[in-house]
Subunit: 348 residues, 2 copies
């Protein structure tokens, strides 16, 4: 897991245009909205009956990922999926992706191929077309900047700002797993650094590792909502931790909230590993990032439709007091939720 | 020019969301197609009667720009304009921009503000809305990744692949200036490095420096074509030098070309400075990059409409021999055009 054997073709043998051709020549466009993909000054998209959604994310080596334990194919897959998640968080469907990639000469062609393999695998699984991008040489490590374009029926886009007093607060999947996966990988990396050659002890943690290394975006949730004619009032995806996202949602909606600790969905594997690390599982769920679950609010009239949906948990409700964002703990005491999510400019 | 005095506010004081708010709070959306800009999981664009054009470009410090002599505001301006140029090269109109920016802690808030000032100035001048983006911390210098979204009437997008035998080859503006501007800045940087405190000798070179530091995209050319009901058969913008771009265009169109040296538009300032540097001005025009002029081909029936247009020069014609891309020099001898444009992975 910590070392990748591979043959090496230097990028400069191909040149920029050779590299782009090599990486994109097998792409077949899947969406009727993708009129023209890679190979011109711009891609062409035709979406005459829907609105478009656009979102951009950047991932930098040493900041957002550590190649010591992130396989390149997983990196590509995750980079794409994280972007798709932003489109689902608007209640849309991702359709086109552009990828700007820069790397230093220490990366051979085979490394870039692995990243593209991951990117294209994610595109295939989610029905997205890779339609353009840019490649460049970097003096320091690897970086990816992705822009995803999605489509939504006019009037169906769900913003962060639409939450209403009395709305149910709902979250998909479970929380804190990706954070515990990162803790586990960091621990094994530390062991490896101290004792090179040591084999990482990752047995039995498949689920947790997958949450960190190969997250999925919640297309199924958006499809469930559409099938059940549920239009959320507000929605956001959880990339920086539940607390941080719920505060974004409430601030932009000018509301408060009450969230119940005993309703937070946490997988037993996450709970057990958190205890082993002496971390409170609730803290993982509230402040651990990168779960890419969806957080949304909807009128109480939908309660019956979602109470038994295995994808979803109702974790609280929206209140009319904009400055009160409360967590009710298992003893019934209330605490103010605070954002402890990742700060891009804070030294760790 | 070589030193920038400024007050310094550390980025970590603001945090990522504070920074985004600070930079984007004054943005007012100008295009009716921009439904929702910065501040949610994705921007929303409504363009129900037009096709969309999407293009991405990445700029890295030390690779694409040198902060020794590129003022940050100019950097922002140029980064935006270079992206707009890709949309004009498709015969479209740029409307929405997303900006991903990463920088290390050595950049204070004021530096980022200057970049945004340049970005927003370009957006204002070209009627484009900045609708989204991402900010991150980088371990090595400054980098920008921009995605531009444009609009074009269905069926009016102009590809690189449409050139036809007998087409006139037309180029806008003049060539080689941006390259000579770079040579001049590099020479003065070398002087400055040897003798710190030396004042750069840039008198009388305003035009050349502007070509390098503050290029414009050819909106006027696209508007001229529309007003005169001219639909080019093929078009590309000149970012890597005329030779490189004409080869792209001919290769994708499966055609040859004849270009005439004495028809190449070169500004007298470029000619004089090239001679001072002992560089052949024709070589500057053919291989110097970053001019961001438009190169296009059109049926000969349009000859009368464009022969007297001060924006345009007819430099040759398209032939039916795919492997013959010829330059006819001033003595009537022919030479094969070769791409000597910038190779992102070649060591310089």
């Amino acid at each position: 897991m910590f070392q990748q054997e591979q043959s090496k073709t230097e990028l400069k043998q191909l040149g920029e245009f050779g590299l782009i051709n090599h990486l994109t020549s097998t792409i077949r466009l899947q969406n009727t909205s993708s009129i023209k993909g890679v190979g011109d000054d711009a891609a062409v998209i035709r979406q005459h009956e829907k609105d478009l959604l656009v979102s951009t994310d950047m991932l930098l080596e040493g900041i957002h990922f550590d190649l010591t334990y992130v396989p390149l194919k997983h990196l590509g897959y995750k980079a794409a999926v994280v972007n798709f998640s932003d489109i689902y968080a608007m209640n849309g469907k991702p359709e086109q992706l552009t990828v700007a990639l820069a790397c230093s000469n220490r990366f051979p062609l085979e490394a870039i191929e692995q990243i593209y393999e991951g990117l294209l695998l994610a595109c295939n699984e989610y029905g997205v077309d890779l339609v353009g991008g840019d490649t460049a040489s970097s003096k320091a490590g690897l970086l990816l900047s992705l822009t995803i374009i999605g489509a939504v029926e006019p009037g169906k886009a769900v913003y962060r700002s639409g939450a209403k007093t009395g709305d149910l607060i709902v979250v998909s999947g479970d929380l804190g797993g990706a954070y515990m996966g990162l803790q586990l990988l960091e621990r094994e990396k530390a062991v490896f650094m101290e004792t090179p050659g040591a084999q990482p002890d990752l047995q039995g943690f498949d689920y947790i590792l997958q949450r960190q290394l190969r997250p999925e975006a919640r297309r199924d949730v958006v499809e469930f909502l559409a099938e059940n004619a549920i239009q959320p009032n507000a929605m956001i995806d959880i990339s920086d931790g539940l607390s941080s996202e719920i505060l974004h949602l409430c601030t932009q909606s000018n509301t408060g909230c009450r969230v119940f600790e005993d309703k937070l969905p946490i997988d037993p594997t996450t709970v057990n590993l958190a205890r082993e690390f002496e971390i409170d599982p609730t803290v993982c769920a509230l402040n651990g990032g990168e779960d890419y679950e969806l957080l949304f609010t909807l009128p109480q009239e939908h309660f019956e439709k979602i109470r038994n949906c295995p994808l979803l948990s109702i974790i609280g409700y929206i209140t009319d007091t904009p400055n009160e964002h409360l967590l009710v703990d298992k003893s019934g005491n209330t605490h103010h939720l605070t954002a402890q999510g990742w700060n891009a400019f804070e030294k760790k």
